[in-house]
């Protein structure tokens, strides 16, 4: 028996496309429509991985052995309460409801709390704290933008539907799609290539090797005359996105800051003493600056190429300053290309509960915030912490090895649906459900628009959701602390107002199980 569910939300990247059509057969996703290749890889194949963890495990004598959930929760709570400076890290691939409990757990433990954004777009958040940001939701770009700049990012690979759903290739109220133009260009290009190939074959001449690093092309004449939306890509190498763009600016690595500073000068009509910046002739930059000033509505999307290269949050700061300056001439927006589907949500949830978006330290009983001091990488590099909990992340695959070595000196608890690199290293390994596939919850899109992830299939029996699991750990932590005679926080009361009629849930699939029933699930 197969059924189709419409408008399913994709739990992969910051785009959170919510128009997927998923076909279910025997509690398995068998087909998916509208999604990109990345989405299909996870939603149709990836989540059924053979590496799926089905039982909680504890490392005994160096080997992971299956145990009951109660034993694993007890062990994890013991580790966390014994630690003087535990770190809770991850959070970007789980739902807001679980992140809420995460903050409560960190507060109860006096732990440090950090999310994956500290190794991706944390610098963007920090830049916002220094200078603010002129941002907009994605639809605003769809309806209005006639100049789209992708800076140091490659949405073609990382956010495959970004261009097609939100920017250049989408039809908005005031701006049309450039898809047809692109197809024509593609056809013309391939025709030209065919002719070139044919003539080469005839002449049997090897093609000249193109220079890879420095920009050598002519200034962009098309930016002035082309009607409709224009798309500029700035990157250190010619990516797939650059192939689609109307104009590609190849800058030297780690020179984003200098190029943007130069652009800022040009936008305010100042002359530069130099001829080239970041490998780009100033005349070319002047054309780009003109294109930026003369558009009706421009936008810069920036990626990790900017946040994690030399200069980090200062790069973003200066890019925001450029967008801000441009608002004196026209309308200009700048936005980060947030990666994981709910990394924005982690910042959002942490901020409303504590006032700070990431890099939190609760050791003083109140939140302290300082990236560079409380961020996971810096903390582990100094070897400050003495226990780690990783949830919905795989730092083992992404962190530098010296940092992983420091992490592994101390007990490690992991919460992940499948046996990824970090789970293999864990001392207590919890299984969990795939959020957005096996349970629902809230995620925040890259522009901070909240969208409810859907549950489409049932999880294997006995596996808890992130939220349920964290509540279990929190309760156990409180029990241990009470035994020790330490003060603990209150569990949220199940408060009912006698005079309030609680409307029955419309969609039971989206209803979270209540806390009172947690024990039964276990």
């Amino acid at each position: 028996m197969s059924k189709t569910i419409n408008n399913v939300v994709c739990p992969i990247c910051g785009c959170l496309c919510d128009d997927l059509e998923v076909t279910i057969e025997n509690n398995e996703i068998v087909k998916m429509k509208n999604g990109c290749a990345v989405c299909e890889a996870k939603m149709v194949h990836g989540y059924k991985s053979e590496e799926r963890i089905l039982k909680p495990m504890i490392r005994k004598d160096g080997k992971l052995v299956s145990v009951s959930i109660d034993e694993a929760v007890k062990k994890a709570a013991q580790i966390l309460t014994d630690a003087k400076y535990p770190l809770l890290f991850g959070w970007s691939s789980t739902v807001g409801e679980a992140q809420r409990i995460g903050v409560e757990l960190a507060e109860e433990l006096g732990a440090t709390l950090d999310n994956c954004c500290s190794v991706c777009h944390g610098p963007s958040v920090m830049a916002t704290q220094e200078i603010g940001i002129p941002a907009a939701t994605l639809g605003q770009i769809r309806h209005r933008a006639d100049l789209i700049v992708y800076w140091a990012c490659n949405p073609w690979a990382s956010h495959p539907r970004h261009v097609e759903r939100y920017t250049a290739f989408t039809d908005g109220r005031f701006e049309g799609s450039e898809w047809k133009n692109y197809l024509q260009k593609l056809k013309a290009d391939s025709g030209r290539k065919k002719i070139e190939m044919a003539s080469k074959r005839i002449a049997r001449v090897e093609p000249p090797i193109k220079p890879q690093v420095c920009f050598t092309g002519p200034p962009p004449p098309m930016l002035e005359h082309k009607p409709g939306r224009k798309m500029i890509v700035v990157d250190v190498r010619k990516t797939m996105t650059a192939e689609v763009a109307d104009y590609f600016l190849q800058i030297e690595p780690n020179r984003d800051y200098d190029v943007i500073e130069a652009l800022r000068c040009l936008v305010t009509d100042q002359e530069l003493d130099v001829d080239k910046v970041g490998g780009i002739p100033v005349d070319t930059l002047r054309d780009v600056a003109d294109a930026m000033m003369n558009c009706e509505f421009g936008v810069i999307y920036f990626g990790l190429g900017m946040t994690q290269s030399l200069g980090r949050f200062r790069n973003i700061e200066i890019a925001i300053a450029l967008a801000r300056d441009l608002n004196r001439k026209t309308k200009f927006i700048i936005s980060p290309m947030r990666g994981h589907f709910n990394v924005t949500g982690a910042n959002t949830v942490f901020a409303w509960q504590t006032g700070y978006p990431f890099a939190l330290d609760f050791s003083q009983g109140y939140p302290q915030f300082n990236p560079g001091e409380n961020t996971a990488v810096d903390l582990l590099k100094r070897g400050d912490n003495d226990a780690t909990l990783i949830i919905s992340a795989d730092p083992a695959a992404h962190f530098p090895s010296v940092i992983m070595q420091n992490m592994l000196k101390h007990p490690l608890i992991t919460i992940n649906p499948d046996m990824n690199a970090i789970s293999r290293l864990g001392d207590v390994v919890f299984p969990t459900q795939w959020c957005g596939i096996e349970y629902s919850g809230t995620a925040y899109r890259m522009d901070a628009v909240p969208i409810t992830l859907k549950k489409v299939v049932e999880a294997p029996p006995g596996i808890l959701t992130d939220e349920e699991l964290l509540i279990r750990i929190l309760e156990e932590v409180r029990a241990i602390k009470i035994k020790r005679g330490e003060p603990v926080g209150q569990t949220e009361a199940k408060f009912t107002h006698p005079n309030t009629t609680k409307t029955p849930p419309v969609n039971t699939a989206q209803k979270k199980p209540k806390r009172a029933t947690k024990k039964k699930v276990a």
Binding site: E104, G132, T137, F297, W352, Q353, P487
Partner: protein, 566 residues
């Protein structure tokens, strides 16, 4: 079943015309009742204390995407005000935009029990509700930005009031909102391309409509839906010198819509809309003109938006205003946050300094308005938290209202513009406790259409605030500091018949408070056919099915079902 008897307090309950009478208030469960059994009831001895209904704040930005962005960009502001966890309360941070838990605690400590959230973009309503769920001890509601929604603009341009009403009902229902919020009508849409409207008769680009038509249309819609609150209006040209004229134009344009003498619109943070003078150098107070108009008309209510001289964060859906504020210079950070098809927004951290001529005059304009408008049922006390100052400054604002001495003390420290360019030094009026209770509770509850709030009559919600003010012995106008302290730390705050705060300290944080929202039931429900769905797809980047706020997002839901006449 709990019973409480508040004994021998001086009760101030303007709705029931009780002015400082010594009497008992009986509470059973979460309601005020006629009497309870003395023996079983918990007795609160309120002799020598003032008993009022729990405070009702009509306009305060406490939750939502905008507020949270404000939180994120101000670590330095939180840094100076950390809040330690206790076994009863959660940790967090305070100052201009406190974290959610701290918001609830600090409001409750001041005797407030209901707060209405200034504005949210409909598309981000889920976020606002998630935050509201995390604000304990308060009943909450939120206004929905509707004025620049494309569906509204299109239907009003065509004159389809009924269709527009059905769509608005759908929007309020799907965002679990409480009232229609209109911010700089037409201006937000214009800001999509970096422009603005500058009078109520300017054309909105691309939509063939003017701000006047939007406001009038939405008032008609509001009436057809029988909404409990009027439209909640943030006028055009807010924060621009000379804008008192726009405000007067706006009020005049809506005059004829009130047929029964009842208010049809609420102009919020009116202080920011009462500027006279052609530019910032010739900046003067326009409060007198506004007050004169208000004293002769009944079709509007206002709230102050008082400036309190603090390092705060301004945030509004009025994106173009925030940009013009940024352009004035001297600001480190500027946030703009446009929302497709619906709204825009902006944030700027702002320090109102006593020695700044503009800030000082803004301070006096707010007080002038509150004091020159004779009827306290027409103007309510707010700081437009956090725009004029954080809500913890309410006791300060009250002191300025009930004590000329307090005003004089501040005037002395202010820039001379506050004295020279406004009438404030010549105003002798000092508000009584009765008038204070109207401006903070009874009046706001009435304007919001909440029959069970803002008073202590039988059947009212058992939300009570008890202050250490003895009206017989304490002259609040003279000893304004004592009274100010009393308003900052309620002796008791009762929420739903439970003591949640005592002497300004939280003693019970486990009362989550309800989210009050309006379900305006139209005769024909809004038809969402395929054509409509296609439009949704075109207008928004999320699907129609994923747009509405589900019940999951409203922890304790209090639906106010009303029958619409359309």
């Amino acid at each position: 079943m709990t019973e409480i008897l508040i004994k021998n307090g001086f009760v101030v309950d303007p709705k029931n015309k009780i002015n400082c009478e010594k009497m008992d208030i009986a509470i059973k469960d979460n309601k005020i009742v006629k009497k309870v059994n003395d023996k079983n009831a918990q007795i609160i001895d309120a002799s020598g204390l003032t008993v009022m209904a729990g405070g009702v704040d009509i306009h305060s930005h406490i939750a939502g995407a905008e507020v949270n962005t404000g939180r994120i960009i101000r670590p330095e502001d939180h840094y100076k005000d950390p809040v330690r966890k206790t076994p009863i309360t959660r940790a967090g941070t305070g100052y201009s935009i406190p974290s959610t838990f701290v918001t609830g605690y600090r409001y409750a400590a001041m005797g407030y029990t209901s707060v209405f959230n200034g504005s949210i973009a409909p598309m981000k309503a889920k976020h606002a509700h998630e935050e509201l769920n995390d604000i304990p001890l308060l009943d909450k509601g939120t206004y929905i930005l509707t004025g620049d929604w494309w569906f509204v603009l299109e239907n009003l341009a065509k004159g389809n009031i009924d269709e527009c009403a059905r769509l608005v009902a759908w929007l309020i229902h799907s965002t679990r909102g409480y009232a229609i919020k209109v911010v700089n009508p037409g201006g937000l849409e214009s800001w999509g391309f970096g422009r603005n409207v500058h009078s109520i008769d300017d054309q909105v680009p691309n939509f063939c409509i003017t701000p006047r038509e939007i406001m009038r249309g939405l008032i008609k819609v509001n009436k057809k839906l029988n909404m409990p609150h009027t439209i909640h209006l943030h006028t055009n040209n807010l924060g621009v010198p000379g804008n008192y004229q726009t405000t007067l134009d706006t009020m005049k344009a809506l005059e004829d819509l009130s047929t029964d003498g009842k208010p049809v619109a609420h102009i919020t943070h009116v202080q920011f809309c009462s500027f006279k003078g052609e530019n910032w150098r010739k900046f003067k107070s326009g409060a007198e003109d506004i007050a004169k108009y208000m004293n002769n008309h009944t079709h509007m209510t206002l709230d102050m938006g008082q400036v309190t001289f603090s390092d705060t964060t301004t945030m509004t859906a009025d994106g173009p205003f925030e940009f013009s504020l940024y352009e004035l210079g001297g600001h480190l950070k500027w946030v703009n946050s446009d929302v497709e098809t619906e709204s825009s927004g902006g944030i700027i951290p702002f320090h109102y300094k006593r020695n700044s001529p503009v800030s000082a005059l803004q301070w006096s304009i707010g007080l002038e308005l509150a004091l020159l408008i004779n009827d306290p049922w027409k103007i309510f006390m707010t700081t437009d938290h956090p725009n004029g100052g954080p809500f913890y400054d309410y006791p300060k604002v009250l002191a300025w209202l009930y004590s000329k001495k307090a005003r004089e003390a501040t005037l002395k420290k202010c820039h001379k513009s506050a004295r020279k360019k406004s009438l404030l030094p010549s105003i002798d009026r000092e508000l009584s406790l009765y008038e204070i209770a109207i401006m903070t509770r009874a009046g706001t509850a009435q304007a919001l259409g909440l029959p069970n709030k803002g008073h202590l009559g039988v059947g009212a919600d058992a939300d009570v605030a008890i202050f250490n003010i003895n009206p017989e012995t304490l002259d609040i106008a003279q000893k304004y500091r004592t009274a100010r302290k009393a308003f900052a730390n309620a002796v008791y705050t009762l929420k739903d018949g439970i003591i949640v705060a005592k002497d300004g300290q939280i003693v019970n944080s486990q009362v989550p408070g309800r989210t009050i929202w309006v379900d305006a039931q139209t005769k024909d429900p809004c038809r969402i056919d395929d054509d409509m769905k296609r439009k949704f797809k075109e207008y928004w980047t999320i699907e129609y099915e994923n747009y509405p706020v589900t019940d999951h997002y409203v922890k304790i839901s209090d639906k106010l079902a009303i029958k619409a006449s359309v």
